[in-house]
Symmetry: C2
């Protein structure tokens, strides 16, 4: 796929490099797939836009339940193009190449200089990419005036969106240990402090049933909702039925769109994921686990800073454990953290994309955030210091990562027009500071 | 092993039957191993004692970490006889056979009629045995005046004990479900009621750090400690260091022997075993599990009755869940229950055993209970209506079910004398009602 991409770009006259990323950590007999970087155009009078995409895909087997051969593009009579990677992220990557080709065939001058960064390990944590981007920010990518990533999805199926924010994630382990080995609950039940009892007590005090985080100091770090921001929510094409459909139930916390979307995008949340070391199989086992590790994570938003979040979490968990008066031992630590990202949706990068949506789809795009994270977004912003725009091509029903992944023909064709139109409007935007 | 046992008993002149138990449930191509039943002596003027043991053992492989070949008896210079089944339960079963043989060789009249019930599926839940015992209680076992089981262990390593009680066990599942499928915590965190949040809140309210059950009505069902009973605890050879050694830590709840042993033997306890359906592997996964099942059990004691215990548990769990106000769905049910058992340690069956201990070991035995369950005990009591005595041969360090299982030569030889002496004292006990 990397070679294919490099060939396509070279055929179109781009300057292409296949850059090695070294060996795969932990699997040193394997080379990481190369990053394909390319420059198309070098006109100092034009803006330079850096685009990112990935040519690797999730695994897929017909036996997983696909209705069609996953690695053969199959188009049904409604124009749904089924195939692994159709929407995530081969379709959008091809969109950029099609945009170049279309300009050449139509004899239209390409409106910007285009820099490409297409990786091959996105579905495996983008191994090696962060360091590469940081190094190239002052080299190959140094002329970039803004960044555009097409690797996420519309909120629904009809209305395009521009995405200006992502939540971060701090992932915690709470480890409680006591006995030297697992115990028989008949022999020891009632005589020893049980790590699971202590853990349930601590995990039961982190968040209330309505998702309110009970750790003092966390909610106080959250940036207040501004009037400008509030105004973005009204027009968004989203209904409670959309939530219930995606949940597969009506167990939502809020009854209205605005509070639901804000809870997903711009407020923190705390989820308890599970317990390591306890009995987790079906059936019945009368064990007193000697050491249990509760796992939970906090989705973070502006202006939460990881060190302060960690400090508040550690203090609260330790205090609540101390209140129990158990002789067991507690340890609480952050397994990993990733920062939130929010861009200014008033930047010319977003204005250009908004005009392009209006031109191609005839509507004003929804301004959205996402509740999850796309770590490369923040890496590009921090490494280049430029505005980053998430400009999705696919829709919410595309089933990325699932069986029967698809991209609608409409999204692919109009989406390719959108990428081209975006570059034209970028060229027209007044030259002001970010 | 069954055939070997049958041969040994036949050689000694016993009337032996190998009784089939049908096919193994779920593995209908396999016959269950036969129960070996035997009668030795049929003198109406003598008491008849029914003894139980099992000839099957736990699995064992040298690769598990055994210091010696597990299925070859290996005796070290301290007289420790290593081998799978040495203490659990081949040693004690052989003890009964040796007792018969010793009487024959010494030309001493056997003091009682002996009925044997030796099974081959004890380590796999005694499949088929309950129905067999119930059926034979009025047939082959109908003459039994009392029952003796040698299949448990001394509390320590020096002092023999007689065991007169076992706790029961009610095992519960608390199932909470909401979303139609597992969710991504980035996308849904903060917008939906999370089953894990609800489950932690409920499990966190079952028992306090010191093992006190918080479910109203449970502790009220417990029979008060009598003065007679209290008097049994003082002489027991047990120290807090014994507890700490077996725990592998000093995380015991109580600081004294009496309260520790009472908490293990004659008060109920509640242990939380784990959660099914949540993330339980090492590492970090940002899942919101759609359906989680918390597992906990209550060890029961006199006078707790299973239906009343279940009712109290269901009501409390449902009430606590209702208080949360979650839109998720709760189900709570009992996976299985097994009743506690307590015999009268003043019965002639125990008096005889106590005199035998004094004769063989020169001490008065500890009167003990166990925190766990030996379900066949209650089955014999209920099926025959006779007193059941647990008369252990092995010591607390024998490592039944573990690697390097052993039986000390002293325990085997003196233990065999004990079984014989017990039968002689049984014959001398006055004929009074149970």
């Amino acid at each position: 796929m990397g070679q294919f991409l490099a060939n396509e770009l070279e055929t179109l006259g781009a300057e292409v490099q296949q850059r090695p990323l070294g060996k795969q950590p932990g699997k040193e007999h394997l080379d990481l797939p190369p990053v394909i970087i390319a420059r198309y155009g070098n006109d100092k009078s034009k803006r330079t836009i850096l685009v990112y995409g990935h040519y690797d895909v999730q695994p897929a087997l017909l036996e997983d339940g696909w209705a069609t051969e996953p690695f053969k593009l199959t188009i049904d009579d409604k124009g749904r193009m089924y195939g692994r990677g159709s929407t995530d992220d081969k379709g959008p990557v091809l969109g950029w190449i099609n945009a170049i080709e279309a300009h050449q065939k139509a004899g239209v001058d390409f409106p910007v200089n285009l820099l490409c960064c297409f990786e091959g390990m996105e579905e495996y944590g983008s191994e090696g990419l962060d360091d590469f981007i940081k190094a190239e920010a002052k080299q190959f990518f140094k002329d970039a005036d803004a960044v555009c990533i097409s690797d996420n999805y519309w909120l629904g199926t009809e209305k395009p969106c521009l995405t200006y924010g992502l939540r971060g994630c701090n992932y915690y382990s709470v480890e409680i240990s006591g006995p030297g080995q697992d115990l028989h609950s008949g022999v020891f039940g009632g005589t020893a402090h049980e790590p699971m009892t202590d853990l349930m007590a601590v995990l039961g005090k982190l968040v209330d049933v309505n998702g309110k985080i009970l750790i003092p100091g966390i909610n106080e770090m959250v940036a207040p909702v501004t009037e400008d921001e509030k105004a973005l929510y009204g027009p968004i094409a989203y209904t409670m039925d959309n939530l219930y459909e995606s949940l597969g139930s009506t167990t939502g916390i809020f009854d209205d769109k605005e509070r639901t979307l804000m809870a997903r995008w711009r407020f923190p949340s705390l989820s308890i994921h599970g317990v390591e070391g306890a009995f987790s199989a079906p059936g019945a086992k009368t064990v007193i686990p000697a050491k249990v590790i509760g796992k939970f994570s906090i989705r973070t938003v502006p202006d939460m800073e990881s060190p302060q979040v960690n400090e508040a979490v550690y203090k609260y968990v330790k205090d609540e454990f101390a209140k129990l008066g158990s002789k067991n031992k507690l340890d609480v630590y952050c397994q990993h953290d990733g920062k939130w990202w929010v861009a200014s949706p008033k930047h010319w990068n977003f204005s250009a994309a908004s005009k392009a949506v209006k031109e191609v789809y005839g509507v004003k795009p929804d301004m959205t955030r996402e509740g999850g994270s796309i770590p490369v977004t923040l890496t590009f912003e921090e490494a280049t210091g430029k505005n980053v725009l998430l400009l999705p091509m696919g829709s919410s029903t595309d089933a990325a990562h699932s069986i029967n992944e698809k991209l609608d023909r409409r999204n692919y064709i109009e989406g390719t027009k959108l990428l081209g139109a975006y570059l034209h409007y970028v060229a027209e935007e007044p030259m002001v500071a970010a």
